[in-house]
């Protein structure tokens, strides 16, 4: 299975702190994407990083990708209570671009 695995499963921090979530996967990828899901809602795309990229930024988000270790991390800086959600990584393989492999997510709680 190519499924991504997030770590930690749950994370609780104070507002203003940084939150780091990690994702590991098993096989070669075309790209890796991070999604956010508020409780009971659909997923929203946050950021995509391609296999030939090492780091990407979007606002308070920073994503890194290490293809040699088959891992990625998502850093949310200066977190806010509104960042409370579950975060999922999804990998897209090199052969079938319609197969997204999602991990089971990291549940982030940001305390005000």
């Amino acid at each position: 299975s190519q499924q991504g695995e997030e770590d930690p499963q749950a994370l609780s921090i104070q507002e203003g702190e940084n939150a780091t979530m990690n994702c590991s996967y098993k096989t070669s990828i075309n790209n890796l994407q991070w999604y956010r899901q508020n409780s009971g809602r659909g997923l929203v795309h946050l950021i995509l990083i391609r296999s030939n990229e090492r780091e990407k930024h979007s606002g308070r988000l920073r994503v890194t990708l290490d293809t040699s270790k088959k891992s990625s991390s998502l850093l949310i800086t200066a977190s806010r209570a509104a960042d409370t959600a579950s975060y999922f990584c999804a990998t897209v393989g090199v052969y079938n671009f319609n197969k997204f492999y999602f991990g089971s997510g990291t549940k982030l709680n940001v305390k005000p």
Binding site: Q3, G4, N30, N31, Q33, Y35, G40, R41, G42, L43, V44, H45, L48, F88, A90, V92, F97, N98, K99, F100, F102, G103, S104, G105
Partner: protein, 117 residues
Amino acid sequence: DVKVTQSSRYLVKRTGEKVFLECVQDMDHENMFWYRQDPGLGLRLIYFSYDVKMKEKGDIPEGYSVSREKKERFSLILESASTNQTSMYLCASRPGLGGRPNTGELFFGEGSRLTVL
């Protein structure tokens, strides 16, 4: 903005009933997907469609079928619902690229939480 609309947010059905979950997108996307989401298992692909009347099985198609008669609408059908199909169902779409492969993001609906009693 892309809008993916799932017809029912919450459904309660009985074992053996036929269940239809509807999904409509308003951005003329070629590709549409149905996932189910269960705690600890992440999202698992049930079926996807890359064009009208075209479909491919995902990782867990057993017990499900799909229909795509119009480009904007992708329906998931549970022919005879069972309790192990109690889950959150998520529809997603994304554009095609005129025949070129698309490796980009998915646009999700709000989800349909199905309970089978």
